[in-house]
Amino acid sequence: MSWAGPEDIYLSTSLASYLDKKLLVLLRDGRKLLGILRSFDQFANAVLEGACERVIVGDLYCDIPLGLYVIRGENVVLIGELDLEKEELPPHMTRVSPAEIKGAQKAEREASDLKGTMRKRMEFLDLD
């Protein structure tokens, strides 16, 4: 495989135009990573420096620092370039501590689990 010339890079799907920029990487499990793209290959495997995970629960968010990450391309949904002129998040969102966001995540998970359990109980009653 040959390397695309610098002009081709900007006309192709190559991630070269995103090198050294701050990016948002969406993963297949729904996680959102932020970091600076330092390297990539044809599979969209990517190296993010200064990576953090942005956890959002309702109007709360928290950036949890992760460090240097190598992401397997298969798990990438989307890589977005962040416009540094714009606000990253809407103004109504509040930054909270990692402990607070984990609490909010847990509460959200429990609420949806409860729905599932109640449904199961109802099914059980239907059988009686």
Binding site: L24, L78, G80, D83, E87, E88, L89, P90
Partner: protein
């Protein structure tokens, strides 16, 4: 190769890419490759309130394997051309 060629001709037009995770992004088609990976420019998310983290994303790369649909602009669809290309491809072209 049919759809790779088709999307290459569509570069510069507005499309809406709908992903398997239900995220829908509208933008100008910047480029496409043989895997149907796509780069979009001047993007906006269709349901912005549901995806606040996408607010400042203006350009993006989308992995072809996560695409469910691409809504195409009617002026970017030449039906006769598509039929001919499909028949050629079906013959093993």
């Amino acid at each position: 190769m049919l759809f790779f060629s088709y999307f290459k001709d569509l570069v510069g037009r507005e499309v809406t890419v709908e992903l398997k995770n239900d995220l829908a992004i509208r933008g100008t088609l910047h480029s496409v490759d043989q895997y149907l990976n796509i780069k979009l420019e001047n993007t906006r998310v269709v349901d912005q309130d549901k995806y606040p983290h996408m607010l400042s994303v203006r350009n993006c790369f989308i992995r072809g394997s996560v695409v469910r649909y691409v809504q195409l602009p009617p002026e970017g669809v030449d039906i006769e051309l598509l039929h001919d290309a499909t028949r050629r491809e079906a013959r093993g072209g």
